[in-house]
């Protein structure tokens, strides 16, 4: 009886607000087709061995077990994390400093700088990689030429024992994301009322105090947003190391530039046809992203100085 009534109420609501539902339907339909279905199907696939064409074979959690036992997977994980974390130092600091300079009205032509700094984000990563491979070239590279002016021997950035390729990838990754972060921070800074700055100045606060006591605390939610975005970007690192290592699935000498995304695409669909295994890899990467986002979210919001007050006010 109850269930029937509930169902009736649901249908009634559906009918009553049919126009509203029709308006929001396109998003949910597209989301279901292009996001929800692949997500669910990918999870389902990760328990199978399947070459994308012939019959699917259920193998339980074997893909996950093999994956967690694979030395290369952990190497790729370490590389990705290493490159991502180091790159975040210039991304965060550079983005904030640039945004602060542009916001302080010391510079004219704010929009021109905004566009220029944002360019790397929308430029084809293949084109960028070609330019950077010229910079980091062994025999003709610009950087090695510069070193040679000081009598230094050329460094094989992209070859050698494979460890220096990470430097090249970090530089490219940071260069790409600084502009994006800057634009977002700038928008955030412009959203902070001038009254607050003025009040601080009247109270005798200096620039450093304004930045650390006012600007950064107020920007926290925005910094969190950019951090999560660039963390996802970090796990998606593929084109840069792949092209720098001559489109090799090894990630370069000693797997120095092997990232999780190269590892994944090597299994399917680009380097092989192990679709089930690749799905399992994708799910493990997703879990990593969720964990990191969760940790970031918690650590950053817990430090919010206004959080405690809000809660108290609510309970009162």
């Amino acid at each position: 009886m109850k269930a029937a009534a509930k169902k009736n109420r649901f249908l009634h609501a559906l009918y009553e607000y049919r126009v509203a539902y029709a308006y929001i339907a396109p998003f949910f339909l597209l989301f279901a087709i292009f996001n929800l279905f692949p997500m669910v199907y990918g999870f389902f696939l990760s328990f199978f061995r399947w070459d994308g064409m012939s019959a699917m074979h259920f193998i339980g959690i074997e893909n996950y077990v093999n994956l967690l036992k694979d030395v290369l997977f952990w190497k790729a994980f370490k590389n990705t994390l290493f490159m991502g974390i180091i790159a975040h130092i210039p991304i965060l600091l550079g983005g904030l400093v640039l945004a602060y300079i542009l916001n302080s009205k010391l510079v004219k032509g704010q929009n021109i700088f905004k566009t220029i700094y944002f360019m790397p984000m929308v430029t084809s990563s293949v084109a960028i990689t070609i330019i950077f491979s010229n910079l980091f070239g062994y025999n003709y590279g610009l950087i090695n030429w510069f070193l040679s002016l000081f009598g230094e021997a050329p460094i094989n950035w992209l070859g050698g024992d494979g460890s220096l390729i990470r430097v090249a990838v970090i530089v490219m990754f940071a260069w790409k994301w600084i502009g994006w972060n800057m634009v977002i921070y700038l928008a955030g800074m412009q959203g902070i009322s001038n009254d607050i700055y003025e009040a601080a100045e009247i109270d005798g606060a200096n620039h450093v105090q304004i930045v650390f006591r006012i600007l950064i605390p107020l920007l926290k939610p925005i910094i969190l947003f950019t951090l999560i975005q660039s963390t996802i970007g970090m796990f998606n690192l593929f084109t840069e190391p792949f092209v720098l290592t001559g489109s090799s699935w090894t990630g370069g000498t000693n797997n120095g530039g092997l990232t999780l995304m190269i590892y994944l695409l090597n299994k399917a669909p680009q380097g092989g046809t192990a679709y089930g295994y690749a799905s399992a890899v994708a799910y493990v990467i997703t879990v990593f992203i969720v964990i990191i986002s969760f940790v970031l979210n918690n650590t950053m919001t817990d430090k919010d100085p206004y959080e405690g007050k809000k809660k108290r006010r609510k309970s009162a």
Partner: protein, 443 residues
């Protein structure tokens, strides 16, 4: 009046028969629109042969839809798995053929009588396109990549080395000879023998025969350790640039004469002419691989017809015209240097293969294509797997890692075996499953 009309009709009929005969058996029965997908310069090749195709099949309209190699294969894989979105005819690169040869998502060309052409294609390419259970053939070979050793003849001349292909081949037929040439052409920090010392070792495997039919990795082969030792000598003497052969640095060095030698499939002639060294007429020579390495094949593509195509007849007309007629193949060969896998084409326009090529050094006699024709006849049949592209990457990176660590040839070979086995473990499981599905795998 009636008679006149009848008479006129008879005349018209006769005339139409006559003109029909004039335009060499044009097939007007097959009609429709087909989409052809691939990567450059396949589109240039098809455009070059399109006029002939349009004459033979006036009612088929062809739309070319081209992108880069990686994007094309990824899109093809996904649309085959999804069951829609694939073109009617798609290019498949030799390195990927193992992923496709068992695919039920591709049309069995035997339904169209592909076996009639069996004797027109070399066994090597033909067998690559046959499913593991031997029942289906899903791809028709387009081109071969008879592997040639390209050298800057102008630099050879400058340092007092011979420039004619036969003499270079003779001089470099042993590793001692190779090292001698390497030493003569190299100037430390300025001019190098090869882009990377890893390549002579890679040439041994460029056929992509890493695994046997029982999926055992077979790295040990005749003369491999001598070859590796020569590679190490080249590296340790600083005679190589120590960069990837496809890198921007290597390209610049080929063009300005700083990188003197490189080996590739004969399609590399086209790369040199159009992309790498377009103004370099007279710079280059080409001969067989050095070090006594056997004749081998490097790459080459196929055409497939996805099962989802709604006009397979027209698609097959396109595939068979382009790849299994001398005119189609030679028109494309002339345009983009894709060496025809269809052997009758070689005799149909012999001048294309034997005439001296004005782009190459005046000492280049016979022409690179004439040498390629000889090599093509000697290429052995190989067994391809889905692990091949991954294994290929390690030939380069494991050698570099081993050389950097100061290892011996044996140690480098062991390192390579371990690296490939580790990286291909899961792909191998998948390959075994695919073979089991085909009913040809015994535990």
């Amino acid at each position: 009046m009636k008679k006149r009309i009848a008479g006129a009709l008879v005349l018209a009929m006769a005339a139409s028969m006559f003109t029909g005969a004039m335009i060499a058996q044009a097939n007007e029965d097959i009609s429709g629109e087909i989409e052809v997908g691939g990567w450059p310069s396949g589109d240039d090749a098809f455009k070059a042969a399109m006029e002939g195709f349009n004459e033979a099949y006036p009612n088929i309209e062809v739309e070319l839809n081209f992108t880069d190699t990686t994007a094309h294969h990824q899109a093809l894989q996904t649309s085959l798995a999804a069951g829609s979105g694939a073109p009617d005819v798609a290019m498949v690169e030799g390195a990927y053929i193992a992923q496709y040869k068992n695919s039920p998502a591709l049309t069995n060309l035997r339904d169209f009588g592909v076996d009639d052409y069996k004797d027109d294609f070399g066994e090597f390419k033909w067998n690559q396109a046959i499913s593991d259970d031997g029942t289906r053939m899903v791809a028709l070979p387009w081109d071969l990549g008879p592997t040639l050793f390209y050298y800057r003849a102008d630099v050879f001349e400058e340092v007092g080395l011979p420039t004619a292909p036969a003499e270079v081949d003779e001089l470099m037929s042993t590793w001692e000879g190779v090292l001698e040439v390497a030493e003569k052409v190299s100037i430390p920090g300025k001019r190098w023998f090869l882009p990377s010392a890893a390549y002579p070792y890679q040439w041994m495997f460029i056929n992509r025969d890493y695994y046997d039919e029982d999926l055992n990795l077979r790295l040990e082969r005749d003369g491999d350790l001598e070859c590796l030792q020569a590679c190490l000598d080249i590296r340790n003497n600083g005679w190589d640039m120590n960069v990837d052969m496809w890198s921007a640095e290597a390209y610049a060095a080929y063009a300005n004469g700083s990188c003197v030698c490189v080996a590739a499939g004969s399609w590399f002639s086209g790369f040199l002419k159009t992309d790498i060294d377009p103004d370099g007429a007279g710079h280059w020579g080409a001969t067989r691989l050095p070090g006594g390495l056997p004749d081998t094949n490097w790459g080459g593509s196929f055409l497939v017809i996805p099962e989802q195509s709604e006009n397979k007849e027209a698609a097959w007309a396109f595939v068979s015209y382009m790849l299994a007629t001398s005119k189609g193949q030679n028109d494309m060969f002339r345009a983009v240097d894709y060496f025809p896998a269809y052997e009758p084409a070689w005799d149909d326009a012999p001048e294309l293969y034997t005439d001296l090529d004005p782009y190459f050094n005046p000492a280049q006699d016979p022409a690179p294509n004439a040498i390629a024709t000889e090599i093509a006849a000697n290429v052995p049949t190989v067994y391809n797997t889905i692990m091949d592209t991954t294994a290929e990457g390690y030939l380069y990176s494991s050698f570099n890692a081993g050389a950097e660590a100061g290892e011996t040839p044996e140690q480098i070979r062991d390192r390579l075996a371990a690296d490939i086995e580790a990286a291909c473990a899961e792909l191998k499981e998948q390959q075994i499953q695919t073979l089991k599905d085909a009913g040809v795998w015994e535990e």
